[in-house]
Subunit: 321 residues, 2 copies
């Protein structure tokens, strides 16, 4: 089963979740309604809801419950994107104007707060304290990650470990708890919950590393923004870090960075990184995370959804967009 | 028992809550640690924790549980202040530089997110779903209120009703749920929970109205900022609305507003409002809310804490700072 087949198969469910999302953010406050709908319409892969639903099959699958968890996690993702766009000073996302560009930073901040609170509303409908605790712990970690991202901006002295910790908080954690909460809401066994979390964490790490690679190797058309956007914004990712410290062009790169000529020679630097071993290194690391995610899957019951998760793992590391 | 006696009596408990607050926001992330400690040190009246604790006495009082609720509500208050300072472009609060002034808007946004998430961590330690639902519902309403505040900026056409709805969401709701959650965490009877909510709501409304009066009548020294700061920022409160529509100087005021001369003649306008019947009208309305808060109290068991809450009611409407 290919990824497109998975989406095709889940089309009906995703439509239901879209409805849940619409309902959750609808309000008679006009600005909020507009900014939230704007966000919803901007779309997205809805990958977190898919992880929630697939994980739910490893327990007592109840769509009515799972769709609320799925919507909550997608809302958290949306809220964090709105706030991120303020930090990144981003005017476009997925080729469309961001909330902060269409309105302003203030509206973006409060739209984020509002969507965040609505996500919480969905989660508080559950009685299981572990669901609440998993959710709130992840939110704390994510907000620490947001500040780390500011701290690490333009910091070429950061370690690989710092980078990995940052992407864990930025991306992997939310995917990990999507799997975990899907399983918890379906009363899956503890062992299964743990493995699905492991699966999600590793897939999430790979997902972000590949994203960071594509930012260098993709075309403007594929990315919806020029290549090297991360670096232009000061977000230094694994390919860049590797290139600076270990590539054959490292001395040339170090000189540019140390002489403060980065901004002036940005296109040259992006080109150097694109051609460097940093890309291959990052790709290898992503593959290693994918291997780990598959290992976690192998210890799960061999149901159809396990195959689907496996398919997603393979897709993530091979994707070109 | 006077207000100062109440504070004196609760000094030990408040100290414990300060500890809880410190623990909740401490992190090894340096910027976050500094910005959060900065906020904690800026202090505040800690009025929400006091409402939580006093309300707890109407059920099975357990300080260890209540201090977590109290800290969570104070953290929500703090988080909303940090985000508000971004909206208001405020450089000072309580005479000290705000997070957005000392750092920047981005740090303020994420410090708010972080403190917010930590508040959630405290609340998720409770098992009672009503506690979670009350909490998340209030957060949704508060975030809608934040956007309404932006919408109503500089809007002289807003109704009194719009103003009241806004201060409900901005202030009264959090005080109301402080009372309610204190009672819920102590397993108080449903009737009692409802009355304490009513008490808190009415006290909260009065509190904000008085705040809005003091912004006109206070001295720079009392306020820690020049009088009329709300209006200067575009936040149009009850005394101003009343003065514009019903005071004897209304035509003069309307002319200034309609001719777009407000900014130029700000000192004159503030003076007109200060001397207008708007102050008296707002004071009367605050008193009416206080009466309602006392009525809610009278239906509660006649314990010592009922007297203390009564004392707070009286203080709020008479305070001059």
């Amino acid at each position: 089963m290919k990824l497109l087949d998975i989406y095709a198969k889940m089309k009906g469910d995703i439509k239901e979740i879209e409805k849940e999302l619409s309902q959750a953010v609808s309000t008679d406050q006009i600005i909020l309604n507009e900014s939230s709908s704007h966000l919803l319409k901007a779309g997205g892969k809805r990958i977190r809801p898919i992880f929630v639903l697939l994980s739910g099959h490893f327990g007592n699958y109840q769509f009515e419950k799972l769709k609320k968890v799925a919507a909550a996690l997608e809302l958290i993702h949306m809220a964090s994107l709105v706030h991120d766009d303020v930090i990144d000073d981003a005017d476009k996302r997925r080729g469309k104007p961001t909330v902060k560009a269409q309105w302003d930073n203030k509206v973006a901040m409060y739209t984020g707060d509002y969507i965040f609170a609505q996500a919480l509303m969905l989660i508080t409908q559950f009685e299981d304290p572990e669901i609440h605790q998993t959710f709130s712990k992840a939110l704390v970690q994510m907000s620490v990650g947001e500040i780390e991202q500011i701290r690490d901006f333009n910091n070429w002295n950061q370690s690989f470990k710092q980078y990995l910790r940052r992407i864990k908080r930025k991306t992997a954690l939310l995917i990990a708890i999507s799997c975990k909460l899907g399983a918890l809401a379906s009363n899956a066994e503890e062992k299964i919950v743990r493995r699905l979390y492991q699966y999600g964490y590793n897939v999430g790490m790979a997902f972000q590393i590949v994203d960071d690679i594509l930012d260098f190797t993709g075309t403007t058309e594929q990315l919806g923004k020029p290549a090297g956007s991360d670096l232009r914004q000061g977000n230094i990712t694994l390919p860049a870090l590797y290139a600076l410290h270990y590539s054959k062009d490292r001395e040339r790169l170090q000189k540019i960075v140390h002489n403060g000529e980065l901004e002036k020679r940005m296109d040259e630097v992006i080109d150097l990184i694109r051609k460097s071993e940093g890309i291959k290194y990052a790709q290898k690391l992503a593959e290693r995370y994918i291997e780990k995610s598959k290992k976690a899957l192998l210890e799960l019951p061999n149901i159809r959804e396990r195959k689907m998760l496996l398919e997603i793992s393979d897709f993530i590391v091979d994707r070109t967009y």
